[in-house]
Symmetry: C2
Subunit: 223 residues, 2 copies
């Protein structure tokens, strides 16, 4: 946790430090991020960083905390799951996740890097993946509702959805090199409406739906 001193800072300065740090940790692996460089770019002395945070890891953790909070907030504001149709809910999640990644590319890259970071287990000692647990719940209850084909185990179904979901935000980011920032601004409002990646999500969901749906029922296609 940051020190009280950090929170006493004038907002502008605090934001500057966070901005610079975020940019740095989002663009480089943990080991390649230098505290000295952050201090430099934020126009403060290196010693000051240690007046605000216990150490480098503490700063990193705080950024992750902010990212997590932002995403939670975003989802709680934009997402409400029906809980009846798995594929509808998945689509909602995909759209929200992708929109968040587009509107907060640095947060997204930060979190993405974290997943394979060298300090992952120092920060998240229990290495369970929360989003995976969540998806598992959805999939299993859908399985009980016979919305999922029975010739596929829950494990594989979860792997299937989770993998596609996790990588998709990054895929979108990679395929819109450079012009994130402006595009991010332009696409706010309706989530994943008419943008080019909105169409991609539709296609992806189509594939997931046919791939996962119970073939015996009428669930293979759009209702």
């Amino acid at each position: 946790m940051p020190t009280p001193t950090f929170f006493n800072l004038p907002e502008a300065k605090r934001d500057r430090i966070l901005e610079v740090s975020l940019e740095e940790f989002a663009s480089n692996p943990y080991d390649r991020v230098s505290v000295a460089q952050i201090a430099d770019k934020a126009d403060i002395a290196k010693g000051s960083v240690y007046q605000y945070f216990e150490d480098k890891l503490d700063l990193y953790r705080h950024l992750l905390e902010l990212a997590s909070r932002a995403k939670t907030r975003y989802f709680s504001e934009h997402v409400s799951l029906g809980g009846e149709d798995l594929f509808e809910d998945l689509e909602t999640l995909f759209r929200a996740g992708t929109a968040f990644a587009r509107e907060n590319p640095r947060y997204h890259r930060l979190a993405y890097r974290f997943m394979n970071s060298s300090v992952r287990d120092q920060i998240l000692p229990d290495l369970r993946d929360m989003s995976e647990d969540f998806l598992r719940g959805m999939v299993e209850s859908a399985h009980a509702r016979r919305q999922i084909r029975s010739d596929v185990s829950a494990d594989m179904a979860v792997y299937f959805v989770n993998t596609l979901l996790t990588e998709f935000g990054t895929y979108v980011l990679k395929h819109s090199e450079g012009n994130w920032e402006e595009l991010a601004m332009e696409s706010t409002g309706s989530i994943g409406g008419a943008s080019w990646w909105g169409e991609m999500i539709e296609e992806l969901i189509r594939m997931i739906r046919s791939g996962l749906a119970d073939g015996s029922g009428r669930d293979g296609w759009e209702g």
Copy 2:
């Protein structure tokens, strides 16, 4: 490239050095691997490493080269694609890829780490993904043969398959913690026969098939 001196070494010593290096680079991100530590574990002087390799990157590159060669060899020996049925060919690729990862877990982890490594572009300046290009070819020709649904773009279809393929080897590795080595030995022979992950591949292929197949034809289910 390693120096001539390295190739003049007694085989045992050479192998020891490679083994230790491989273990190190497969288990840690590039920046966390220490040449001093490698030398230590391999029972040679640090200076010697630099008599065998130009620098740390050179050693790393050589390991990747060996991994690539091993995988190429493995595929050329175990894989022959019909080129007629996309899904059959995909299943063959999945099985071979997974089997390779199981029999050469360190090579697999090395390659996996490399994909997001901080020195990726120093080693592979053109950042094209060869396996993705290959898949793209398969998918596009299958598209031409109408084996793939027309309401999904080639890009998304490739993303769909490539993502699931790329992550699967790692998924299998993660879910067999600890006892790789013995299991690897036990499962050689027929590729992905009766092992627990053979079943998983079947399920995965089932999902991919239904997800990707052209719904208008008779291609949605096993032939």
